[in-house]
């Protein structure tokens, strides 16, 4: 472990924490453009976070330590995952800490605690959000892992930075299995990050909200941490997709000079992903809760077809 890779590691974590609100800001901005509204700008999420951090915490009387602990764990798991998923360089000392299965499980830890926090206060909304979130997650997770496993089988590794290296060193091949896995991944990533058509991050309508229902009672710095964690999660899913399916442009092992170019490519890719997400969100309406089984079932079907075609067609 040399100091240079430590620097890269540090840079990446700082970039993740720093860029996540801008990515969300970009999404909101583009969405405003497509809907003919005036955008608040890329920086609005930063202002929101600053305001929330400065405000005092208003806490329900019967909140237990779980409720107060959850924001930190949501933030903590996101930061840790950010140290592992290769974004600008594959030379990360933390990369072998966790392969892609562990990363998905890290998000599951955050979700587990968020759901518990939702139930902690004892309101109907909290329980509703927790129940729905866990249901969706339990259907999404198999499809997610199937998609990821297809990529892992094709690259004989479950470690993300290793997958990136294998893809970079190999010839670009047109593989149906990877294409299936990619579309399944996109569908599941939308579900996991709570975007339309699965959940709407902008609504607080009782009957439809899922993620927001769990965090309804949060305020002040707690809310700031959870929001920030959510923004990082969105960015991390995008980064995970890039690493697993289109890592070209990332800095190869051990070169500091390649970093600025890699960063530029990364930002360009993220901007493009933002555009795509907004297209999806603008084009679709939020689904009824029980229609989601069809949606997630379709994602699972795609992932399974990917896995099967890896053996049949590749």
């Amino acid at each position: 472990m040399n100091p240079r890779s430590l620097v890269i590691e540090f840079l990446q974590v700082v970039l993740l924490i720093g860029l996540a609100p801008a990515f969300t800001g970009w999404l909101r901005t583009v969405k405003c453009w497509t809907q003919g509204r005036t955008a608040a700008g890329l920086l609005q999420p930063y202002r929101d976070l600053r305001k929330l951090l400065a405000k005092e915490v208003v806490l329900a009387e019967n909140a237990s330590w779980i409720f107060r602990f959850t924001p930190y764990i949501v933030f903590g798991t996101a930061v840790l995952a950010g140290g592992i998923i290769p974004m600008i360089s594959v030379d990360l000392p933390l990369a072998p800490t966790a392969d892609v299965i562990v990363i998905i499980a890290l998000f599951a830890v955050a979700r587990f605690f968020t759901a518990l926090a939702g139930m902690d206060i004892g309101t109907a909304f909290g329980g509703m959000g927790a129940s729905r979130e866990m249901t969706i997650a339990s259907l999404a997770e198999p499809a997610m892992l199937m998609a990821i496993f297809t990529v892992s089988l094709a690259n004989t590794s479950t470690s993300l930075s290793q997958i990136v290296q294998v893809i970079l060193n190999g010839q670009p091949v047109l593989r149906p299995s990877i294409a299936f896995a990619f579309f399944a991944f996109v569908m599941i990533a939308i579900a996991e990050t709570g975007r339309i058509p699965v959940d709407n991050p902008a609504t607080h309508l009782e009957l439809t909200m899922i993620h927001e229902a769990m965090i309804l009672e949060y305020s002040g710095r707690h809310l700031a941490l959870i929001e920030w964690g959510q923004m990082m999660k969105l960015l991390l899913f995008a980064a995970m997709g890039i690493a697993a399916f289109a890592p070209w442009g990332i800095a190869a092992a051990g070169s500091l000079h390649a970093l600025p170019a890699a960063l530029a490519v990364m930002v360009a890719k993220l901007a493009a992903i933002g555009l795509v997400i907004v297209m999806i969100e603008t084009g679709l309406a939020k689904m009824r809760l029980f229609r989601l089984t069809d949606y997630l079932g379709a994602a699972f079907l795609l992932a399974t077809l990917g896995m099967i075609s890896f053996f049949i067609l590749d």
């Binding site: 392969d99 139930m119 902690d120 004892g122 329980g127 129940s131 339990s138 259907l139 470690s159």
Partner: protein
């Protein structure tokens, strides 16, 4: 007996210690409080000795044998402690050590209600029986030990015998246990017959079976019988129906042992018979074990989600976890039969690791459920809530159990599931094209199981410990006392240790795959130091529990400190709830409502009867005065397999019952005819 200290000597000593409380009954009969303390301390000491013996055996890879001059004439009992037995000895004795500590506090709760002498005696016999099962080295002693274990646990299940449901559960338990025992007996019969020829009894030792070579048909028959018998004990779907009945009604310390380690004796039996005694087998045996394991895992967790009785929920999770263990073992069998011992070692280690993990977290969870039951006299989660404020210790420890069983890093359940996933992903090395394709699809089911388990434990913990108390009367809740806490704390620490430092434990238990498959995992798995777990190679996959644990902890601490540099106030107010004011505890989500979406999605697997009854208010039809909701979710398996089986056996009984006349002359005629027939045959 050789008197120098060997692992086997320690194990035998611990068996003797476990029988000591029986001798103490006359002395301490009237001083039950002292008796509880002495007996459970003896049990704990005995367990500690066995743990040492087990760890020692596995670490050195030694094999100790002893022939006891007891048993039937000419058929002495054989004892043997090899790494496989040592591993299971460690697991069983490890949990019984914690549970014995816990029991000191827990059993005292019964003192005001009834005599606990039988409970203590059968508890000790039960633990001794389990230890003897893994030590046995011949079919005879194995079955004797098996019956001691089954019989004593039957009396423990029926301990609170004033309730009808307990008697019924115990009855179902003993019936299925004995059907299983008969199957095991027959399996050993087949093996022993081929080991020494049917003219001699000397094939009854496991050694003779190991040496023997079995024709495939008979080996298959023996395997299927053994799998049926052990599967019935382990609670493999569809033989699981006794498990959710019997485990919850036993005293909680016993439930912890039954769920945590008694089921593992069946896993031990499956491994012993297939890998050790039979040795070589076709791949479809493994596919069968894998398939049933997957079904058990998914069905177990789905049924668990439908429960609102805390202990019953945990019991169904045992079905799930036995399924996960069998997945590992089934994969190991498939890899072995295709001649891939290295890959088989990975799958077997995954299964064994989960065996150890499940013992710890399931023990912990049942102890926690016991503490809740002890404090509230309530098993129904629909009545609970908010216990985290009244029982902070139990809540925190139960939460650790929940995180572990939900397979979330950095705790132990995750490590074994991760290893199982890695084993799944090795399927491309198989030469069979169909297996190559089908096995990774099984990984999806395992993923589904893991995610549903997380949902189930959000429900279990959230409904029990969070929110407000849902019951009508406010309970007099007290926190668990120190012996109980101590038992739970040790189990929780073990869970954390197993999760954070898997390389130590894998390096240790590596002797077991060495013994059974001739190939181990340790040389690759721990090749990059104690921090990194690399089961296949560094490039393929790696995991570091230490860094995940300390990383999360460090970020959490740093964030906390950073946000608290400036002193900041927290204002405590009433619940906001979007401004809704008349909030009552009955409005919270409860166990039934939490599982509603999943019940709807997977409803076709259950037998669900839902009734909604509205009592309309006079004048306003839109505003009913009262609403009654009844929900009944039942196991479909019961109707598919067991009802017909019960019907048939009753039918046969009625037919045979006609023989019974009640007149002695008739019975004499039966004997007379029998003698005549026999004489004709013997002519």
């Amino acid at each position: 007996m050789n008197m120098s200290v060997t692992p086997l000597f320690l194990a035998s000593l611990s068996l003797l210690l476990l029988l000591l409380p029986v001798a103490l009954v006359p002395v301490l009969k009237h001083r039950q409080r002292v008796f509880i303390e002495t007996a459970f301390m003896l049990a704990a000491t005995a367990s500690l000795l066995s743990v040492v013996a087990g760890i020692w055996t596995v670490a050195t890879g030694s094999v100790g044998c002893v022939v006891l001059p007891v048993g039937l004439p000419d058929l002495p009992f054989h004892l043997r402690l090899d790494p496989l037995a040592g591993f299971f000895l460690t697991v069983i004795a490890g949990l019984s050590l914690y549970v014995s500590l816990y029991s000191v506090g827990y059993i005292k709760g019964y003192l005001s209600k009834r005599s606990v002498i039988s409970l203590i005696i059968f508890y000790c016999l039960f633990v001794a029986g389990m230890l003897m099962v893994v030590l046995a080295d011949d079919a005879l002693f194995f079955l004797v030990a098996w019956e001691i274990m089954a019989g004593s646990s039957y009396f423990l299940v029926i301990f609170e015998n004033e309730r009808v449901e307990n008697r019924r559960a115990a009855f179902v338990y003993i019936v299925i246990a004995h059907i299983g025992a008969i199957a095991i007996l027959l399996a050993f019969g087949v093996l022993a017959g081929f080991a020494s020829g049917f003219g001699s009894f000397q094939g009854y030792t496991f050694d003779a079976m190991r040496q023997a070579h079995f024709p495939l048909t008979w080996a298959t028959a023996a395997f299927l019988l053994a799998f049926l018998g052990f599967g019935a004990k382990a609670g493999v779907v569809p033989l699981h129906v006794w498990l959710p009945e019997a485990h919850p009604v036993a005293p909680s310390n016993v439930s912890a042992l039954m769920s945590g380690v008694m089921l593992k004796t069946a896993i031990y039996g499956i491994i012993r018979v297939t890998f050790d005694l039979i040795g070589s087998f076709p791949w479809w045996w493994g596919a069968l074990v894998l398939g049933l394991g997957l079904i058990s895992a998914v069905m177990g967790v789905l049924y668990a989600l439908m429960q609102h009785d805390l202990k019953r929920l945990l019991a169904y999770h045992s079905v799930e976890n036995i399924g996960i263990i069998l997945i590992g073992i089934g994969l190991a069998m498939i890899f072995t039969s295709f001649g891939l011992p290295l890959l088989a070692a990975l799958a077997l280690v995954a299964g064994l690791y989960h065996t150890m993990n499940h013992a710890m977290f399931k023990g912990l969870l049942f102890m926690g459920a016991g503490a809740v039951l002890h404090a509230t006299n309530e098993r129904n989660m629909e009545e609970m809530g908010g216990l985290i404020h009244l029982m902070p210790w139990t809540a925190a420890l139960f939460l650790i159990g929940c995180i572990s069983i939900a397979a979330l890093p950095p705790f132990n359940g995750f490590v074994s599931e991760w290893l199982t996933f890695q084993a799944f992903l090795l399927s491309p090395s198989l030469p069979n094209s169909l297996m190559k394709l089908l096995i990774p699809l099984g990984a999806a089911l395992l993923a589904l199981t893991g995610a549903l388990a997380a949902a189930c434990f959000v429900k279990a913990f959230g409904v029990t410990f969070l929110g407000h108390w849902r019951g009508h009367r406010t309970p007099q809740v007290h926190e668990a006392d120190w012996p109980m806490r101590l038992g739970m704390i040790s189990a929780a620490l073990t869970c954390l240790g197993l999760g954070v430092l898997p390389t130590f434990f894998i390096g240790w238990l590596d002797r077991v795959p060495h013994q059974l498959l001739g190939s181990g995992l340790a040389s690759t798995a721990t090749a990059h130091g104690w921090m990194w777990l690399t089961p296949i190679s560094y490039e393929r996959a790696s995991y570091s529990g230490v860094i995940v644990f300390s990383g999360i902890l460090a970020v959490v601490l740093a964030t906390y400190v950073f946000l608290h540099v400036k002193p900041s106030k927290i204002r405590k107010v009433a619940i906001w709830d979007c401004g809704f004011e008349k909030l009552t505890p009955r409005m919270q989500y409860n166990a039934t409502s939490f599982a509603m979406p999943i019940r709807r999605i997977f409803g076709f697997l259950f037998h669900i009867r839902e009734q909604v009854h509205l009592v309309p208010q006079r004048g306003h039809k839109a505003f009913p005065q009262q609403l009654r909701y009844r929900l009944r979710v039942r196991d479909r398996i019961w109707g598919w397999f067991y009802k017909p089986a019960v019907g048939v056996s009753f039918w046969i009984s009625r037919k045979i019952g006609r023989l019974q006349q009640g007149r002695i002359n008739t019975y004499l005629i039966y004997s007379f005819i029998t003698i005549i027939v026999l004489l004709v045959f013997l002519r």
